[in-house]
């Protein structure tokens, strides 16, 4: 049977989603798919485009990879555009002359930016904001510009303004309408948004109709407006709306809307039944949908129809929630109250700059729409009320009134199972409940099972509410007790220890626990005590709490021997020290391996050898590397601006400084850091708990990355920081993690389970929302000030050294140890090898 051949024209977000859905469908094996893109790269996240200016790269924005397509047998052709369709013989022709037959043709050509027909619009430095190439052009132009104007004060215009501001330009926004975001916001909301944006030093000009762009006097250009006013600027960025990219359909006679757009039915078919149109090029019931979520729905519907399903496109909700220039803005449904008889509730707090409006039906029982500026916490609840046409509570104003005491939460129990909770991945309440029933009991598990909240993340709070409520319905008692000896979570224990100033395990156990403790609570509490009092971990009060690795200040290997890892800050080491490492390894016959963290691991040391080895290392200037502890491991670095032709900052000096600052810091799990000297990121900082990447202006700070078992790309936390602010944020970040994480929870998982996610973390650490930053900093100052090299302290104490022999009553080594040679070094013998060895001896 020959395969059905599907051609997808355009590889943007919607075209790519269509292919993903198609590949996930049961008919995937019977399909042959080919996609064309006029852009030089595969699909990327246009919604996050502005992140490009705050440090993200084209790869970060990418939604897919060539590997993904190749694995699934999807053919892709970049830099080639479909220019002709033969509908009767069913084939397309590309600009390069390539002819490809199809059974089904899918047009996902998207849209292009509308540039008003203003004389002078085609000059250099008059640009648009749509593709990564556009961003590159904007970046280039910014290098020779001081002032930039964005034409268009809608959603995209403000995104573009944010980009110009990030590039350091004096930024203006010029809008034709009387207010910003005129489509989504009412007058009150628009007014507050303007005030907030002007506070950020972006000048807003409304009711301006640009007449022409002519040579300027103080700047490159001058814009002349219809009212006679003028504005001087070096760059003009048009972001005045989009137009459907429909020329192909127009030229080859598919039915079009009067003002453009390819007409589609509820199955997303065009006037030719074998040709579909999806996304921003498609016109459904006279409407173009300029958001990505409806495009995704169309992709799903088209896949369903092609593979024999029955899904239909029945319109889309255009509600939206976003952060523009750092200002939270949301709009739901009929934001303007245009429905006949509509009434409003308005909450306007000029002091704290918060504006909220509810639009309700004439009989005050249904929500029609809402506008939120400055505080969008109510968005999730309000959207569900609207989408599910639910009855409003008795006093609807409580939905937007500031919470006094316990806020009246809308129970998620009231939502129908079909309620869509995550719009990015179309995850319903029912799907989340199903995942809980199948054993997902935390946010991390829900995310990986359902994908809910892994797109924009806006639904995280709602997803958690659904999960918690379902857990409760199932009668699952969420028990966070650390173990049978303490009826507290790790976070609660950390609070008790910190607030009551408790210094020993015994004190905590007698006041708050029972029994003797165990291998779960002892190391966890030992770690918390060390994080706050930072005493020598082998003190007699603490030694019994430590894992064997900490007790012997080495990493126990499978045969009971230990490894030795001295600290090599930033991975920088002198030849003299390197020679000492070699000499010690040779003397004690230690298996030697370079680690992933830019230091050297020496394996196979027996207990009695450890103090002698460390004495030699310490005499040569080494310190312990804490490779055995749940604590800071290494700070990896690239060579940076001192040697590298591309480096923009001295990454090695920064790495050495932060490693020296945080060495010895004990934490819920191990901590890894890295510092890269430029955006090429050779130190792989984005896979670390804390990653620092140099920029022209300072440092970008990334947090909560991970390599290893569950890789996670770190999140960009703050940009262009100076040294002092960078250290301040990292201090706060680490101490907040220590205060709130579970035992053995890496920062990546911690963040995924942190209510409010990255935004909340920023509020705590940058805006000091909880008012704890001073405390966090002083806690860190204490740890830094009380650092000691544990090996130095140990070798100076004869009592402690008694423990470092295999037998307390004999000088012999462990007779069970046996080694074999491999590639010039020794490794532990396997069980079989040991038996053979014994036979030979006998």
């Amino acid at each position: 049977m020959s395969k059905q051949r599907i051609i997808v024209v355009g590889n943007g977000m919607v075209g790519h989603r269509f292919i993903e859905n198609l590949m996930d469908s049961p008919s995937a094996d019977n399909l042959e798919v080919i996609t064309f893109s006029e852009e030089p790269r595969l699909a990327y996240d246009r919604v996050q485009l502005s992140a490009y200016f705050s440090g993200s790269t084209a790869e970060d924005l990418s939604l897919t990879s060539e590997g993904y397509y190749q694995e699934r047998g999807v053919n892709f052709v970049l830099n080639d555009k479909v220019v002709s369709i033969n509908k009767s013989e069913k084939y397309v022709v590309t600009a390069s002359g390539r002819e490809e037959p199809y059974d089904k043709l899918v047009l996902a050509t998207g849209s292009y930016p509308f540039v008003p027909p203003v004389p002078g619009k085609d000059q250099d430095h008059c640009l648009v904001y749509r593709t990564i190439e556009d961003l590159e052009a904007i970046t280039d132009s910014a290098k020779t510009s001081k002032v930039g104007v964005v034409v268009g004060g809608g959603l995209l215009g403000l995104e573009a303004a944010s980009a110009l501001k990030n590039l350091g330009l004096k930024t203006h926004v010029v809008e034709f309408a009387p207010r910003l975001m005129a489509v989504q916001l009412d007058e009150g909301g628009g007014k507050l948004l303007r005030r907030k944006i002007e506070d950020l030093d972006v000048t807003v000009h409304t009711e301006k109709n640009t007449q022409e762009i002519v040579p300027g006097e103080t700047c490159r250009y001058r814009m002349n407006f219809a009212d006679g006013s003028i504005l001087e600027t070096d760059m003009v960025l048009f972001s005045a709306g989009i137009r459907p990219q429909d020329e192909l359909a127009r030229e080859f006679d598919l039915e079009m809307g009067e003002r453009g757009g390819i007409v589609i039915n509820n199955q997303c078919q065009t006037s030719d039944e074998d040709i579909y149109a999806i996304g921003e090029c498609a016109l459904w019931e006279g409407r173009i949908f300029g958001l990505v979520a409806p495009g995704y729905t169309m992709a799903k519907v088209a896949v369903s129809h092609i593979t024999g399903g029955t899904e239909e496109f029945t319109g889309a909700d255009m509600s939206t929630k976003l952060k523009l220039l750092g200002v939270d803005v949301a709009s739901i449904g009929d934001a303007h109250g245009n429905t006949p008889g509509a009434q409003s509730y308005v909450y306007n707090d000029e002091v704290n700059e918060i504006y909220k409006r509810l639009v309700v039906s004439e009989d005050n029982t249904r929500l029609l729409g809402a506008v939120l500026v400055g505080d969008v916490e109510a968005y999730g609840n309000l959207l569900q009320l609207k989408l599910n046409d639910m009855a409003l509570p008795d006093s609807p104003e409580t939905l937007i009134a500031p919470a006094i005491g316990d806020a009246p939460a809308m129970g998620v129990d009231a939502l129908p199972d079909t309620a869509q909770i995550c719009s990015c991945f179309d995850v319903s309440k029912g799907a989340i409940c199903g995942a809980v029933q199948n054993g997902c009991t935390d946010m991390g598990a829900i995310k990986s099972e359902t994908l809910a909240s892994t797109g924009c993340g806006g639904c995280a709070a709602m997803v958690k509410q659904v999960m918690d409520s379902e857990l409760e319905n199932l009668g699952v008692e969420v028990c966070n007790d650390i173990c049978e000896h303490f009826a507290y979570s790790r976070q609660e224990l950390a609070d008790i220890i910190r607030i009551k100033g408790i210094n020993t395990f015994d004190e905590l156990l007698s006041e708050h626990g029972s029994g003797l403790g165990c291998e779960i609570c002892k190391p966890a509490i030992g770690s918390i005590l060390a994080s706050y009092s930072n005493e020598y971990i082998l003190k007699k009060e603490h030694i019994g709490l430590q894992d064997t690795n900490d007790v012997y200040l080495g990493n126990m290997q499978k045969d009971g021997t230990y490894s030795v890892v001295p600290r090599v800050p930033g991975g920088e080491i002198t030849p003299e020290k390197l020679i000492v490492l070699g000499e010690v390894a040779k003397e004690y016959d230690l298996y030697t391996k370079v680690t992933g963290g830019q230091r050297i691991d020496l394996f196979g040391a027996q207990l009695h050898e450890l103090p002698e080895i460390w004495r030699k290392l310490i005499d040569a200037g080494f310190e312990t590397g804490h490779a055995y502890g749940k604590s800071l491991r290494t700070v990896k670095s690239c060579v940076g601006s001192t040697w590298c032709r591309y480096g923009v900052q001295d990454s090695v000096s920064m790495a050495v400084a932060v490693e020296d600052r945080y060495k010895g810091l004990r934490s819920p799990h191990k901590l890894k850091m890295a510092v890269s000297g430029c955006t090429r990121e050779c130190a792989e900082a984005q896979s670390k708990d804390v990653g620092i990447i140099a920029t022209e202006n300072g440092w970008n700070l990334y947090v909560c990355g991970n390599g290893g078992m569950r890789p996670r790309h770190a999140d960009l936390f703050a940009t262009d920081l100076d040294d002092e602010t960078l250290i301040k944020y990292v201090d706060r970040f680490f101490m907040f993690y220590i205060r709130t994480a579970d035992r053995l929870q890496r920062t990546s998982v911690w963040l995924e389970n942190l209510e409010g996610g990255l935004d909340y973390l920023r509020e705590v650490i940058i805006d000091d929302k909880l008012g704890i930053c001073e405390e966090l900093e002083s806690e860190m100052t204490k740890v830094v000030g009380t650092y000691q090299c544990e090996w130095k302290t140990t070798i100076e104490d004869p009592e402690k050294l008694k423990r470092f022999s295999h037998f307390i009553n004999a000088d012999e080594p462990d007779s069970n140890l046996a080694f074999v040679e491999v590639r010039g070094q020794r490794r532990p013998a396997t069980d079989e090898e040991k038996i053979t060895a014994i036979e030979i001896v006998e």
């Binding site: 064997t548 012997y552 009971g560 037998f807 004999a810 069980d831």
Partner: protein, 119 residues
Amino acid sequence: MSTTISTEWVSICPDQDLLANTGLCALLDGEQVAIYKINPNPAYSQDLYAISNYDPIGKANVLSRGILGNIGDHLVVASPLYKQHFDLISGECLEDPEQRVKTYEVRRFNDEIQLKKTV
């Protein structure tokens, strides 16, 4: 190393060398013995315990280096290799009762810790 008059009990080390809540390894007639000291606790009649140092699951001589505690009514050490619990009184592995380690008699005598020879 001090010698002892008794033929049955062997002195291992001064009492003070074994810190509360920790273990040590002793050599007794060629056998490796893990000796532990817990905090004095009314729930337990003594504070010293001794079992074989060999972890039959991890197959290494390491049990003296595990963390002490209790799991329900069992007084246990957790193997430092793969964390199975061994009962200090019976020698039984809680996770795998097939695996049982040898137990030894231990006492404090004249401020010394002593193990009883096994026949």
